[in-house]
Amino acid sequence: MSPRAAARLATLGFGDVYDYVAGKADWGSAGLPLEGANGSETHAGAYVRTDVPRCGLGESLQAVRQRVTEAGFDTCFVVEENQVVLGRIGRRVLASDTDVLVGEVMAEGPSTVRPSARLSELVERMNRQDLSGLPVTTSDGRLTGLLTRADAERALARS
């Protein structure tokens, strides 16, 4: 639609017209705020825990285990230098006594959701799949943080 709108504006004498081709889907996927009846406050991005622990492929599980415990979480996301998500270290792995490199034991390529994802849909999904949380990433795969089921349910109850 927007290319046609841009073209029509040009015929009406508007000389400086730009077409944001990727649209509001792109905007929301980048975690940028949206306004409206279902604006950002009903989307995952508003409730993300940005302080969820992160680690690198080459780190020792022992070091990560300590950091995760001190931070008060039970999970850690494995990211590369640009914060693109590579994997996840979950509760079971953290509870094990082994001392290996993170890259050897991480769960590869976890499912992620966008900051623009609707809370109501995510809560339904987390309940259906019995998930305690979901990682939130931008459209280029960079970790924004963790949306916990508890936080999402509380936010929905308030809205």
Partner: protein, 68 residues
């Protein structure tokens, strides 16, 4: 002339060049969610409303949902 722009371009145009943001989807979709500061001019109403609602001397950025 119309040009395709990125998200970063939109941010720059609105912050630095007073660009007018226009969502061209139906009103109900605009009311559901829209970019901060955007106004609603559905595509079918562009010819009728553009000159009344927009300043032709300033940049205009139009958008819809995505590439499709």
């Amino acid at each position: 002339m119309t040009r395709s722009v990125t998200r970063a371009d939109v941010q720059r145009l609105t912050a630095e060049e007073s660009a007018q943001l226009v969502e061209v989807l139906p009103v109900a979709e605009y009311e559901d969610e829209h970019l901060p500061g955007a106004i609603s001019i559905p595509l079918k109403d562009i010819a009728e409303q553009a000159r009344r609602l927009l300043d032709a001397t300033k940049p205009v950025v139009v958008y819809c949902y995505d590439y499709t």
